[in-house]
């Protein structure tokens, strides 16, 4: 059933003279182009883009799309990524005229509805985090981390302190050290306890006056709640440092407990995860940050404020504005152009408005229920070193299977594709050997979880050789990644060479 013609590379489909879009003739008085733009600025040739028709373009991309697994077609238990259902109403509502067609420099007077939405979003994120000051600007979680670290730098600079180090446990996401390095900090990675928690002794041994920030994911990347966080925060604060909560795993705790209540000073959200972005084949995300009051003045601007009285920007200073844009007093500056990934924030807003307080809590409760249920169904065939309980996700290990039968985490991941399930995250976190990180999310039925558990139970009994060769049912078999890296081919190359 595969249409191999339609999925040839666009360039190989091209025929000179075809086109997929036609524009109207110019309606302004005709003038020689060279009189408008000097020849020296013009290119001597048109860019050699493919020439294809609209029907070809559609058939090409629709056929390509069928080579993907996605949340709408498959269970997608990719640990740490919160691949929950993406409600269709979000797509329609974020595309409403008056929202999707708003230029970012439209006057404040003519943006009151958008600003009201964003202001309410700020307030809802502050309430869920227990941290009052919000910036919606960061484009993704990693940029949220970076932004918050810059906020901490500015804060310490104002206090006349030079703090050079950012600490994080070895179970941290790779973005934590990468963001810290980009923000000019020295990275200090701490060993975790055998159970995967922050090791208090190890932490204390590294804390001193040079500590700027301790970054920690809670629940951590093993899907466990860091119950010592108040003590961790006490120790970090005792040396004058700040605690950063990586909000990647917020789906476990919304309405249950709040980063601001368990010791966090700063955090980021992943709106595309927790508040169902969607993921867009790898982005766009949106990574707002929430910080304590005393850090609010350092946030990037603009932020949305509510005020009465004459407007301070825009064209009619006589109108009474309700919502306005403002740059915090001691802002670190911009981390991107324009306001933020508003299209994703609108979807997150729609989600929170649909759920309400009880729904948000039920979301986390059911995420945790589904994860624990799957853990219970799998632990006898796929041991979970951290024990019988988890939050919204858990990390199983194929170490024993690998030793006894040569079946690796990768083998199981690849074979699951044949069974019609997206693979879990494998080989992260690094602290568990042959790790398989499973996050079912709350938007999956018990029937799906049962079928997934059965698939794994079947797979671990299969011939290891069959598994090493898996997947067998996908559009391609395992790719030669070594060849790809050794002689990188990163674009289409003409057949003429």
């Amino acid at each position: 059933m595969r249409n191999t013609l339609a999925t040839k590379l666009l360039f190989d489909l091209s025929q000179p003279g075809r086109r997929g879009a036609v524009f109207p003739k110019s309606d302004v008085p005709d003038q020689a182009l060279d009189e408008l733009i000097p020849r020296a600025h013009q290119s001597t040739s048109a860019p050699a883009l493919p020439e294809v028709t609209e029907p070809e373009v559609i058939r090409h991309f629709v056929n390509l799309s069928t080579k993907n697994m996605s949340v709408d077609t498959h269970f997608y238990p990719l640990g740490s990524c919160t691949m929950k259902y993406n409600p269709k109403r979000h797509e329609r509502l974020s595309a409403l005229p008056g929202i999707v067609d708003m230029h970012p420099y439209r006057s404040v007077e003519d943006s009151q509805g958008m600003l009201e939405l964003l202001f309410t979003m700020q307030a809802m994120l502050a309430e869920i985090s227990g941290l009052p000051a919000i910036s919606l600007q960061p484009a993704a979680g990693a940029q949220g981390e970076f932004t918050a670290l810059l906020v901490s730098s500015a804060y310490f600079r104002d206090k006349g302190e030079t703090r050079t180090k950012v600490l994080f446990p070895n179970s941290a996401h790779g973005t934590n050290p990468a963001s810290a390095a980009l923000a000019g900090f020295e990275c200090v990675q701490l060993k975790s306890t055998a159970q995967g928690f922050v090791d208090l002794n190890e932490l204390s041994a590294h804390l001193d006056q040079s500590t700027a920030v301790f970054m920690v994911t809670n629940p951590n990347t093993l899907g466990m709640f860091e119950r010592d966080l108040p003590e961790i925060a006490r120790r970090v604060h005792a040396v004058g440092g700040l605690v950063y909560i990586d909000g990647a795993n917020m789906n476990a705790i919304c309405g249950i407990t709040r980063p601001g209540d368990f010791g966090g000073d700063m955090m980021h959200y992943n709106v595309h995860k927790t508040f169902t972005g969607p993921h867009g084949a790898g982005g766009p995300g949106s990574g707002p940050i929430a910080v304590r009051d005393f850090l609010g003045d350092y946030l990037p601007g603009p932020v949305v404020v509510r005020r009465e009285g004459p407007g301070t920007s825009g064209v009619s200073s006589d109108s009474t504005l309700v919502y306005d844009l403002a740059v915090p007093a001691r802002s670190i500056g911009r981390v991107r152009s324009f306001f933020g990934n508003v299209g994703i924030l609108v979807r997150g807003y729609c989600y929170l408005r649909t759920l309400g307080a009880a729904g948000v809590r039920a979301m986390s409760e059911n995420a945790v229920l589904n994860a624990n249920y799957l853990l219970a169904k799998l632990k006898d065939v796929l041991p979970v070193p951290q024990g019988d309980r988890c939050m919204h996700e858990f990390v199983a290990s194929a170490r024993q299977l690998k030793e006894e039968r040569g079946i690796s985490a990768m083998d199981i991941a690849k074979r699951l594709l044949d069974y019609g399930f997206h693979a879990p995250t494998v080989y992260f976190p690094l602290v568990v050997p042959e790790s398989i990180m499973i996050e079912p999310t709350e938007t999956e039925s018990r029937e799906t979880l049962d079928a997934f558990a059965q698939a794994i139970r079947d797979i671990v009994r299969e011939d290891p050789e069959l598994l090493h060769q898996a997947p067998h049912e996908t559009p391609i078999s395992r790719p030669d990644e070594v060849r790809a890296a050794r002689t990188p081919v990163l674009k289409w190359i003409t057949s003429e060479g």
């Binding site: 409600p87 509502l93 595309a95 509805g113 979680g141 084949a281 911009r334 395992r478 790719p479």
Partner: protein, 449 residues
Amino acid sequence: MAYLYNTPQQQREMLATIGVGSIAELFEQVPENLRLRRPLDLPPALTEIELENHLRELAAKNTTKKTGVCFLGGGSYDHFIPSAIDAVASRSEFYTAYTPYQAEASQGTLQAFFEYQSLICQLTGMDVSNASLYEGGTAVSEAVFMAMRVTDRHSKVVILGSVHPEYRQVCETYLRQVNCELVVVPVPDGIADVAAVRQVLDDRTACLVIQQPNFFGCLEQTRELTDAARKVGALSVVSFDPISLGLLARPGEYGADIAVAEGQALGIPMQYGGPYLGILACRQEFVRKMPGRLIGETVDREGQRCYVLNLQAREQHIRREKATSNICTNQGLMALRATVYLSLLGPTGLREVAELCTRKAHYAAERLSKVPGIELAFRQPFFKEFALRCRAGVDPILKKARAAGFDIGPDLKRFRNSGVSSAENCLLIAVTEQRSRTEIDKLAEALSG
């Protein structure tokens, strides 16, 4: 409850399988004293009908006039978006998938991104493109960091005052922590004075950052500028307008080392500033210093052509603090939109759009500069955007435009804190292929009144 499947009966059975009596027991890991003892204070839940009505009300508040014909510019533009783009981007298999870590189950995404990289190379005349960054401002910053790695010069970066002030602010923010001096060359006359730029460049300079067309819409002398950078061993980073490349010289033709762009014009709606698309392409020799994802071609076990995430050893999930960037996501869905846009338009369509913008913008410039009290701010060649100086101030002009149903600007006053020289009494006008002669004439009449 919205989006939940399990019935109360199923929940009870699941709890029994787990071996607990209630959901509350599952949360025993969370110490009692850390739990929130009240419901979150959030607005009440809405059904789909209520939510739709609410969003429609908010949308209606975003426009207080009958029409809002968009002549706004400054990095986000009202270009036409063919319907085929929405049709492709609304395929669930694309927009509800994630990063293509499992190549066997992600060939659709991977091939589309490979095609994106190929199209960007053809468009720019550069050797290699990544699979996208956040947006135009961070693309400039990532290029600057990349130039520092390539040249091993970490103390000085030169940027023209005609680069988008928000991109410059982003660079400033990114560079502050690494003690790198960011030298801004003032551009009082609409385009940079090449001799003045040469004065500032030296053997400590990692790169020279140029925007073409620049923030004021004017065309810089890019060949002379990239030459000047090369003479001191610095790289040239050029932020371009992708639509302009239907007509203007490509960055690869005038010797750019790294070409970056805001890709919003390529079929991405304005949506109040994001999500947009950061484009970054460069010369082949810098490929291993690039930030962000790269897709490569290879073969599977049967020798069938296929695509994978490539050269991941540059990235944060492998290299952690030694990664070339902290970026984790790309802007996949936006890159897909740009891919569809460029394939629909092809060389002819892109040329048509670029020509239409040029012709209409020049007609508008001529009409508007005849309005009493208004003149062109600069006497320089421009593409689809230009700056007007309003002798009696910008506010009355904006007021007249608004009353007649036109959005114009931005007012350059908006950027006065970011050192936009000649910002006094100036505003920008952008004219895309969507604007008609009638609209331009009516705007000119409204401003004359």
